[in-house]
């Protein structure tokens, strides 16, 4: 059996303290700086968001095709000049290279479906599961309706005769 001390140790207040501790630690970690990004890191970040124009579905970061090499060089120039942020570089590449270079669908028009549908499916599945649990709970509760009790009582009454004779 569990000792009283162990029981006290594992009670709600201790758990609350543990929760606060974790949140504090995560906040420290999420807030602190990761050290300055090198230009190369920035180039990697930007090229991961751009699609290689000549290959199928690869990012500029992954692809070794010459067309990707061109885009990478342009991104490198932009990063080196230090004028634009990552987002601005992506927008610049999109406008100057044309065609489909974005790897992430936008959240407008038909494309928004790709963001909305997963959430819709998650909500539907969770709601479905919750409803099923409610139904299951009702089914369990329903075992003791008045009609059931009456039936049981009736059967118990019928049952008394043979037991009396024993």
């Amino acid at each position: 059996m569990m000792s009283a001390l162990s029981k006290k140790l594992k009670a709600w207040p201790v758990w609350m303290l543990m929760g606060i501790l974790v949140v504090a630690l995560l906040a420290v970690g999420a807030g602190r700086q990761s050290g300055p990004l090198t230009q190369e890191d920035r180039i990697d970040n930007v090229t991961q968001r751009l699609a290689c124009p000549t290959c199928d579905g690869e990012s500029v970061y992954v692809s070794q095709a010459p067309a990707s090499q061109n885009i990478r060089n342009e991104v490198a120039r932009q990063v080196a000049s230090g004028q634009r942020t990552d987002d601005e570089i992506v927008a610049f590449i999109e406008s100057s290279f044309g065609g489909q270079v974005l790897l992430v669908p936008r959240a407008t028009g038909l494309d928004a479906l790709i963001w909305v549908l997963p959430i819709a499916v998650l909500v539907c599945c969770t709601a479905g599961l919750a409803l099923t649990f409610r139904r299951w709970k009702r089914e369990q509760g329903g075992q003791a309706s008045d009609a059931d009790r009456a039936l049981v009582a009736q059967l118990l009454e019928l049952d008394t005769d043979p037991t009396d004779s024993l």
């Binding site: 090198t38 579905g57 990012s59 065609g99 489909q100 038909l110 299951w136």
Partner: protein, 655 residues
């Protein structure tokens, strides 16, 4: 297309025809024998299966023979054969394009069919087995038709061709080409077996108690191969592609991942069925979904509607696969509608805070995950069909959605292992989760200590520690009770798999978030520093043979070993292939690639250095998943496999 050539071509095609006949007869024998309870007819079933497998092995041998003897009268050899391909890669070239890989699929399918037919030959009189065999033969028939029609590997090629380009350079560059495709295919094709039993169960309207365990074991077997195949694929990508990643959410990768997700959902929720007799129809649906998704994935990636690094050239295989997919889905849905009620179990699940509840939450998450991956994969098709414009859905989309789903799954992995069946109280959870939670706190403290930043990776490390604590607690309790047997069985082996998954999650979070890279131009005699490591360029080494020119840059890392990233130019393809060189350590990998343009005459080399933390743990975690799967496949000590397990549970316990 239909004309054949050469001795091996004619023989191979004849063998496939024999196989088709065997499969069709096998299907009829199974159906007739089952319907008329005719043991004599049923006894023929294993023989037809044997005929199929002999025919398929014969066809495969013919293909290999044609490949090895460079029989350029065949169109397929003209496409992927070359006199200069080394023996090993020439052997594997058989599955380097569409027709040959369908032939390999057929081979594995025929082997599965014959194993099932002979293993259960004495129980064929059981209608469930009879219908399962009929289903296996039906799938075989379809694939034989593919190899005889749209994916004919023995078609006659143009006259006068004396040499070919050989397989894609990426497929003659690394030994894993010998392992990754066949292992992955065993995973794919193996899913046919549980699917066949699911169809058998639906047609007969009963679940024959022992068959549940058999089906689960076959599903676990295929799932294990699928897992292993996917991990090997990641390793291959890492070793060969030169962008230092393991997974690019490429359509073909997704096509293997989607059935893996639904299969994973199944191997969890089937435990509810084993224990409580519930979720029968749901589990059958998951098996059917898993199998049909392998077919849909093959359609998406092999018909040319989607393209990827893995894609083969266009062919007219698409309509066949799509029709087959449609037939499977319609028949399955029809059967579920017709028989589902009969299989439904009476019990209820008492509380969402229970082992059963956790498995259902798991199913929701894996279902949504599978949906997300499928949606992202087919979304470009939808947009093109509706608005006639090109759209690319790439890595960032999948990463953005996979991260929260993965973290939620980790939360579930923290709690679920300690949950009892039926119902758990808050107090029980506080007791059982106390030390695992401290493992999580220890993990976050340690991560902060070594300088980790960012919310998502830190959350992954914290939950990873917590979940590993929960899994280890379970294993510790089981081994204390039963000694080493406490590591065996589905629950305990499953915990070993969990630890493998957690290690992979932590390694992925660390390597995705903290990879740093830098291009460095090195000059002979002048070592350069990056990320606390020194790199010294020694020399270029040039190698030439019939098929390629390779330039290696020898680089001494940290004054110790020599690493040699290379660029190869395959003369037949004119394509440059970079080959990275990796120094693996327990804490991090140093991944070197040689950057073009390379001027061998000079004494400078431009390299790109990636420093990737914890990469080695991906492979360690993968290995642990494999070990855990094998442990889970052995029956645990609690219950004999022949005991009925899915009998309805008495109701009084839940009142």
């Amino acid at each position: 297309m239909l004309a054949v050539a050469g001795v091996s071509g004619s023989l191979g095609r004849a063998a496939l025809l024999v196989g088709l006949v065997g499969a069709v007869f096998g299907m009829f024998a199974s159906v007739m024998g089952t319907r008329q309870h005719d043991e004599k007819v049923l006894r023929l079933v294993p023989r037809f299966a044997t005929l199929c497998v002999i025919a398929t092995v014969g066809a495969f041998v013919c293909m290999e023979y044609a490949m090895i003897t460079r029989d350029f009268s065949l169109a397929y050899i003209q496409k992927v054969g070359s006199k200069s391909t080394p023996a090993l890669y020439n052997f594997t070239a058989v599955w380097s394009a569409l027709e040959g890989s369908i032939l390999m699929w057929m081979l594995i399918l025929a082997v599965c069919t014959v194993i099932i037919a002979w293993k259960y030959r004495n129980r064929l009189i059981d209608p469930l087995v009879g219908w399962a065999m009929a289903t296996m033969f039906f799938v075989c028939t379809f694939f034989f038709i593919l190899t005889l029609g749209p994916a004919n590997p023995f078609g006659k090629g143009a006259a006068g061709v004396l040499d070919g380009p050989g397989p894609n350079p990426l497929l003659q560059n690394h030994i894993l080409v010998l392992f990754h495709p066949p292992i992955l295919y065993v995973g794919y094709v193996g899913m046919t077996i549980p699917f066949a039993f699911a169809i058998g169960a639906l047609i007969t309207g009963r679940l024959g108690e022992g068959w549940l365990l058999e089906t689960r074991r076959w599903a676990l077997f295929s799932w294990g191969f699928l897992t292993f195949g996917i991990i090997l694929g990641g390793w291959w990508s890492y070793e060969v592609l030169g962008w230092s990643g393991v997974w690019a959410w490429d359509p073909v990768e997704n096509a293997s991942f989607i059935p893996w997700l639904t299969g994973t959902a199944y191997i969890h929720s089937v435990l509810v069925q084993e224990r409580r007799g519930m979720l029968r129809v749901w589990n059958l649906s998951l098996l059917i979904a898993t199998f049909s998704l392998t077919i849909l994935g093959t359609f998406l990636t092999r018909s040319g509607v989607l393209n990827s690094v893995h894609a083969f050239s266009d062919s007219d295989i698409g309509p066949y696969l799509l029709t087959f997919f449609g037939v499977i889905v319609l028949v399955s849905v029809g059967l579920i509608g017709w028989r589902g009620e009969k299989l439904r179990s009476p019990g209820t699940i008492d509380s969402p805070i229970s082992r059963e509840g956790a498995f259902l939450a798991n199913n929701v998450l894996f279902g949504v995950f599978a949906f997300v991956v499928l949606l992202g994969t087919v979304f470009p098709l939808i947009v093109e069909a509706l608005q006639n414009r090109q759209l690319i859905v790439g890595e960032p989309f999948f990463d953005q959605l996979a991260t929260p789903i993965g973290i939620t799954l980790l939360v579930l992995m923290c709690i679920a292992p300690v949950l009892p069946w039926r119902k758990a109280s808050g107090e029980l959870l506080r007791q059982r989760l106390f030390w695992p939670a401290w493992a999580g706190i220890a993990a976050v403290v340690m991560s902060l200590g070594v300088g980790a930043v960012g919310l998502a990776p830190l959350l992954t490390f914290t939950l990873g520690g917590f979940a590993a604590g929960a899994a280890l607690r379970q294993l510790a309790l089981a081994t204390r009770r039963q000694g080493l047997r406490g590591l065996v069985g589905r629950a305990n082996g499953g915990m070993v798999v969990h630890i493998g998954v957690i290690i992979i999650a932590v390694a992925l979070a660390a390597s995705n978030s903290y990879t740093r890279s830098q291009e460095i131009t090195l000059t002979v005699g002048k070592p350069a520093q990056y990320g606390g490591h020194s790199f010294e360029f020694v020399r270029f080494v040039e190698e030439k043979d019939d098929r390629r020119i390779s330039v290696k840059a020898e680089i001494i890392v940290d004054g110790g070993g020599t690493y040699a990233p290379a660029i190869q130019k395959f003369t037949n393809m004119g394509q440059n292939i970079g080959t990275p060189s990796v120094k693996s350590m327990f804490t991090k990998d140093i991944y070197l690639t040689l950057q073009p343009p390379v001027k061998v005459s000079t004494d400078t080399a431009k390299i790109k250095v990636f420093i990737k933390p914890l990469m080695m743990w991906l492979w360690i975690g993968g290995g642990l998943m494999g070990v855990g799967t094998v442990l889970a496949a052995f029956p645990g000590s609690r219950r004999k496999p022949t005991d009925p397990v899915s009998a309805p549970i008495a109701q009084e316990a839940s009142v």
